[in-house]
Symmetry: C2
Subunit: 344 residues, 2 copies
Amino acid sequence: MAIKRVTMADVAALAQVSKTTVSFVLNDRPGLSAATRDRVLAAAEELGWTPSAAARTLSGKGTDTIGVVLNRPPRLTGIEPALEDYFQGVEREVSHRLISLLTRVVSSHEEELLTLRSWWYSRRVDGVILVDLRANDDRPSALRNAHVPVAGVGDPKLRNQLPVAWHDDSAAIDQVVGYLHALGHTRIARLSDRSVLSYAKIRNDAFEKSCADRRLSEQMVCPIEATAAAAAQTTRELLMLAKRPTAILYDNAVTAMAGMAVAQEMGIQVPRELSVVAWGGSQICNYTHPTLSAVEGDDLGLGMQAVRMLLSKLKGEDVGDGQCATPIFVPRGSTAPVARVNSF
Amino acid sequence: MAIKRVTMADVAALAQVSKTTVSFVLNDRPGLSAATRDRVLAAAEELGWTPSAAARTLSGKGTDTIGVVLNRPPRLTGIEPALEDYFQGVEREVSHRLISLLTRVVSSHEEELLTLRSWWYSRRVDGVILVDLRANDDRPSALRNAHVPVAGVGDPKLRNQLPVAWHDDSAAIDQVVGYLHALGHTRIARLSDRSVLSYAKIRNDAFEKSCADRRLSEQMVCPIEATAAAAAQTTRELLMLAKRPTAILYDNAVTAMAGMAVAQEMGIQVPRELSVVAWGGSQICNYTHPTLSAVEGDDLGLGMQAVRMLLSKLKGEDVGDGQCATPIFVPRGSTAPVARVNSF
DNA sequence: CTGAAAGCGCTTACAG
DNA sequence: CTGAAAGCGCTTACAG
């Protein structure tokens, strides 16, 4: 069972050179004669040598792995599609460069910091990515004190503290409100993820401002748990109002779909009597009936950008600003001009 | 920048004992005087000592991390919700035990084997989990040759080759077919993921058998790419047939939702004129209009079970069979008795 | 262009 | 109950 590992010493013996030489060849150091080089490479190949990650990092090299920890509240089966996408983006960029990703799911803030720090102290990662930066997030400073290299995706307000990949949700919100206003909507509601994540607040503020800019005073913001159940429930309440909204914005595709189903269940026609706007989830939005208009951003791209920024930082390069493409509004079948019914 | 690490030598110096003693204390070895023990612990605490993962594994200890690689065909934004759930399950079980997960996304079979092997050879993982075992999968034997400890979730046919977490999809399919038959359906179609993953074939075979057992001869199996787009397209074709099916089974929630939207788009009423059955995705199925009847299995549990089996194996314990709870059929609003229209 | 030697931070027989 | 010493498999000044 205890298979003898092939080490550099074995390769050195076969190639009849010193371990130093083997190390130099295997690390592509310049200044080795072609003959030696070939002999070493052939020997390594013949023996099937693989570097020992442990020995390498113990000798002061990096680990070629970065860490991500996902903090999920206990038993919350909520839908945070953006988080998933950020993670996928990180995964993709990292795999692409043959770097490994160390991951852990935790259920509390303390656990998260603990994991992040211990990964760093035990030298298991070269740096970490924070996928869900919040306003007043204390992780950046905690990690800075521990000297952990870090980059993240999320709230651009933290850009002065660490490299952040972000995009302008406010502009996207303004597009949507402007569009709906142009279609005659004046009573617009927004069901917003009430979690601590920054994006909801950023969008809420932008929503309020966009409505105010256009002198729309009947807007409402309803903070809800980011689940289909909560979205359905709150939508039902909104649609029971005497002066119900004529358009509702959601923070993701599943909640929007749930909201639309409620309208249908109540006999309210989408989009004739109610316009519905989702966020993200084109895979779903294109295949509902009617199809769902939605804001679409490149969340995968944000994750990838964060990784690039972290790697630049590790190499000591200049990192720069991490702004990514602004999400755009894609109208589909769930938005329409407001019906004139009441005007007649 | 180059912060001096706190090592066991530092702790030994402070506590005025040898490194051996420090190591023994920190590893909970029996036979240390309480006094020494306390002194060492206090010193370690005071200095903020953290073990060096590299040094530890270099000295022959394990890595306390297991590996998972996800093989995704390039640019396929397909929906394989079960895979995600398996992964989440693995993640959860592993985090729970303070073990780390090393992950990588690749786009080919070769790349996958390469990664798995190299992780093992470079001693970055103690073992690996295969989350999508296929019939005729060559990974188990390849990994066995490389002596990589492995467990997986998927096709139970591989149980004699490695520990496998699995559940009985056939029984679930038989429940559904039996139910639909009881409601008078005789022309049932099944849109099946055409990927290499075993589950589709297992379900197809079960479907054919269940229909045959009940002398239903007009069933059809349509292998499609597991995307909403493909499901919509194929559903449209099925519903254009002169003798169109009265019930359609899908392999996940998003494709079922897409199929139902097509029926609505064509003016075919669900469930009066067409019954629709999804698989999994209760978060979605409960919030469509009508709600989606679906087969529900504990995919998270499968991932967790696979981890437990791997860990047992690593400890040299007996692993046993990994059968998990059989998925059950949950009828909701998208299934109904077949309409008698044609009989009049 | 190449080698002997020290060092990274642990673990673990082996002595005492 | 405790310690001196070797070893895990690399990297890297430092010599030659």
